[in-house]
């Protein structure tokens, strides 16, 4: 197993290397650059811009800039932000906590609600409950995140005044849980809605299988049959979806963070895109790429851990 994971990690290196070239090219292909903002001052002259470009190394050929970035990045030097001159690592780290907190809460919330509602629908196929859950999941998948966020704000913060509208906490650090409710609910809605459909389908299929009927014949309680026997089998194919979606959750976090003024990497990414803060953009996108690679790997490892057959097949193939 260790050898398998190590092998996968080694194979990830050229992948990340290729990705870094692609990301670097894309980031620099966007029109404008970190200095465009200086142009908004009408008195900045072309020679000022040229001087700044020289100072920041932006006048060097792109491949040289890339190699410079790569060798520094590999040594753990993420460079400095073009916007405020602070170390990129510091800027990314101070936002990482916010994003992980939001993504973690949303993930847990999505998983819990999908499990409950998906099971409910699967246990009573074609019932009113099933129709309601299926309908809700279609709505959940279709509603744009930003719109849902604003509606939740209007209902729960402006009208009912039960929860704060936006932000991560009060000035004294209070109300962190309350501040998290609306953004986490907003971010989780799409994933909960799509997972409900997987869980419903998978559980319905599992419930129709022979071992369930055999268990029922042996007199197992329905609860035990569901929780101990059917659900684990039904969730099995979902491991891949659930692991891959964790990395994808970040794209939803970008929108959610903006709507809720949440201090995370999503808002930092948006700001950095507008300011063409190349060094911060590279760092966030590389962190994102690593997260996708790792969650892919995690999917495989968890799968193998849960299902010995996969491990056997791997060792035979190897």
């Amino acid at each position: 197993m260790a050898a398998y994971v190590a092998g996968r990690l080694i194979r990830a290196v050229p992948l990340l290397f290729g990705l870094s070239i692609l990301i670097f090219a894309l980031v620099h292909a966007a029109p404008g650059g970190p200095l465009t903002v200086y142009l908004s001052n009408p008195n900045v002259r072309p020679e000022d811009i040229a001087r700044l470009e020289r100072l920041l190394g932006l006048d060097r050929p792109l491949y040289e800039q890339y190699l410079g970035w790569l060798s520094a990045f590999a040594r753990g030097d993420w460079g400095f932000s073009y916007v405020d001159g602070r170390p990129v690592l510091e800027r990314v780290l101070e936002r990482a906590g916010g994003t992980l907190e939001l993504m973690g809460s949303a993930y847990a919330l999505a998983l819990a609600s999908a499990l409950v509602l998906g099971s409910l629908a699967a246990l009573r196929p074609r019932s009113i409950a099933d129709s309601l859950v299926s309908g809700a999941s279609i709505v959940g998948i279709s509603i744009p995140t930003f719109w849902l966020g604003l509606v939740l704000q209007l209902v729960f913060a402006v009208e009912l005044r039960l929860l704060p509208t936006a932000g991560r906490m009060g000035v004294a650090g209070e109300g962190r849980l309350a501040h998290r409710v609306l953004p986490a609910a907003t971010l989780s809605s799409f994933y909960a809605a799509s997972w409900i459909r997987y869980i419903r389908a998978s559980l319905a299929a599992t419930l129709a299988r022979d071992f369930v009927r055999a268990g029922r014949a042996r007199g197992l309680s329905e609860t035990r049959l569901l929780v101990r026997h059917s659900l684990p089998n039904a969730l099995f194919p979902l491991v891949t979806v659930l692991s891959l979606d964790f990395a994808l959750l970040f794209s939803g976090a970008v929108v959610t963070e903006t709507v809720f003024a949440w201090p995370g990497m999503g808002t930092l990414l948006v700001d950095s895109v507008y300011r063409r803060d190349y060094s911060v953009l590279m760092a966030i996108l590389m962190v994102g790429s690593v997260a996708v690679v790792v969650s892919n790997l995690a999917a495989d490892v968890i799968y193998g851990w849960l299902d010995p057959r996969v491990r056997v097949a791997r060792s035979e193939a190897a």
């Binding site: 402006v158 936006a166 201090p263």
Partner: protein, 533 residues
């Protein structure tokens, strides 16, 4: 989680009931702010001034009537008070007398050496300030005593009064430092202002706390909390829920949402900013014909845009200099809404719809071009759509092509936009040379019209080198008339500054310049809750 714990949690939420947001008090005022500053160094920042002006003061500031008034300076220098002299060789000498008894937040006195240090720093090629305007014309700064700085310009610089509106840099803190990246100062600057930084939590808020030793006396409000809320919808929601107390620069398409929020005063102030359409004579050859430019102007119903689209929040203007400026010319030529006249002018210029497709053409070439504004800016996107319909009505085809801000900046400043709807906040000093002088096309300036007019150019340069305000006014009056008559740019409306703040907040004086709402924050005070109207 154990069952009792869960029960307690659920009960807790249920019993907590409706939240009571903190009302605005003299202890804490919460401001919903649309973006986070990049740095609090006023000379480096690319973000508007609001937060910084509470911390660092200028030698002068523009008041609510757009007049320069002294802050750290004793008086605003002028030829009348003898502090401004044109030397025999054509150089300009401006003497700044500093107020005595002003101290930096760390207790050090403010001196003329700080002013000299500031000029030297801005002109140091290793520093990237936001602007070097005027500073690059300064030849020397003499400091005969602690409170006198004599600034000598290489030539006459008419906007000398505004030279130090950003104030001064503290020499004792910054000498020998790399100011491009000096987080200790950028994030916690030493100023002379009524507030100092207590905490800046990145991505969340900036908390300012009262300077008890402020030279004009400690301000009434103890803490100002600027919350960074980029989404304008969310900002409005927070204002409605009472979580924020002040929102400035309310987007014009959101003004109607503000009506009827209890306890909230909505003020509308004319801004030193106007929406306009720039016609690019280089990109669209048809615009080189005055008749075509006039036809475009006549086809636009500005009143309908101001009254119907923007619901009367804004006022139509005809000149590039705005009404609150001393240089404003109220009597310039205006091309009113007259589609029939527009069609006539097009016909005179040789443009007629011969193939019946609804678009006029000349020698087989249809009169079409791309129209651009900033994408995501609801107000301008809406107005551009209206312009498209109005132009179509007289047979001019405009295809909308909007861009996000950074890309737009690139295209704008390289002069590649054929028909561009935008607005900018002008400097308080009416120096407009950069935009309209013939030799100031990109990259040497902002003449993105590629409009050339010798007389206009002469008038503008003369104005820049004239110290006498009456003479300068006469020159700028003529320049405004030429621009209005020749319409390389069509002024649409003055951009009203809409601010929302508590009805109980006293002494708020909304400011038309980019000194912003907080320019007199030291005078603000929350009174007894007023009875709602």
């Amino acid at each position: 989680m154990s069952r009792p714990a869960l029960l307690v949690l659920v009960l807790g939420f249920a019993c907590s009931g409706p939240r009571k947001p903190t009302p605005p008090t003299n202890e804490l005022l919460v401001i919903g702010y649309d973006r986070e500053p990049d740095t609090l160094n006023r000379f480096s920042t690319h973000i508007l001034e609001d937060t910084m002006i509470c911390i660092s003061e200028g030698l002068t500031v523009w008041n609510e009537k757009m007049e320069a008034v002294p802050v750290l300076a004793e008086v605003v220098p002028s030829p009348e008070n003898g502090l401004v002299r044109v030397l025999d060789d054509g150089r300009l000498e401006v003497t700044w007398k500093l107020r005595s008894g002003v101290r930096w937040h760390d207790g050090e006195p403010l001196t003329s050496r700080d002013v000299a240090f500031t000029v030297q720093t801005i002109n140091d090629p290793s520093y990237n300030p936001e602007s070097t305007e005027g500073f690059d014309l300064i030849e020397s700064v003499a400091t005969p005593d602690d409170l006198t700085a004599v600034v000598t310009y290489k030539r006459i610089y008419a906007a000398y009064q505004d030279q130090f509106w950003r104030g001064a840099l503290p020499q004792h803190v910054l000498a020998g430092k790399n100011l491009n990246a000096f987080p200790e100062y950028d994030r916690r600057p030493i100023g002379t202002g009524p507030y100092r930084v207590e905490e800046w939590r990145t991505g969340e808020y900036l908390l300012l706390t009262r300077n008890e030793d402020y030279w004009r006396g400690a301000p009434a409000i103890g803490k100002l909390l600027f919350r960074f809320i980029p989404s304008s919808n969310t900002r409005m929601n927070q204002l409605r829920s009472g979580e924020v107390h002040v929102v400035d620069n309310v987007p014009l398409d959101k003004v109607d949402e503000l009506e009827g929020i209890p306890g909230v005063e909505v003020s509308r102030t004319m801004g030193n900013s106007y929406a306009h359409v720039a016609l690019n004579l280089r990109e669209v050859p048809a615009f080189r014909d005055l008749r075509v430019r006039q036809a475009v102007a006549h086809s636009i119903d500005r009143r309908a845009i101001a009254e119907d689209v923007l619901e009367g929040v804004v006022k139509v203007v005809d000149s590039v200099i705005q009404p609150m400026s001393w240089a404003f010319n109220p009597g310039v030529t205006a091309y009113g809404y007259d589609p029939a006249r527009a069609r006539e002018l097009l016909k005179e210029a040789g443009y007629e719809d011969r193939d019946g497709d609804g678009i006029v053409e000349k020698e087989g070439v249809p009169l079409t071009f791309a129209g651009t504004t900033r994408s995501g800016h609801a107000e301008w996107e809406m107005v551009l759509q209206v312009l498209q319909a109005q132009l179509k009505d007289v047979g001019i085809g405009m295809e909308i092509r909007n861009y996000e801000p950074t890309l737009l900046g690139e295209l704008w400043f390289s002069g590649k936009l054929p028909f561009f709807l935008s607005a900018w906040t002008l400097p308080a000093d009416p120096e407009i040379t950069l935009f309209y002088a013939s030799d100031r096309t990109p990259p040497r300036g902002r003449n993105i019209y590629y409009y050339e007019n010798e007389e206009l150019t002469r008038l503008l340069y003369s104005s820049d080198q004239t110290v006498d305000r009456d003479k300068r006014k006469a020159l700028l009056f003529q320049a405004q008339e030429i621009l209005a008559r020749e319409v390389p740019e069509i002024p649409l409306y003055n951009r009203t500054i809409v601010s929302a703040f508590p009805k109980t907040l006293r002494n708020v004086k909304p400011n038309p310049t980019n000194a912003g709402l907080f320019w007199n924050v030291h005078e603000w005070e929350l009174g007894a809750p007023a009875v709602d109207r």
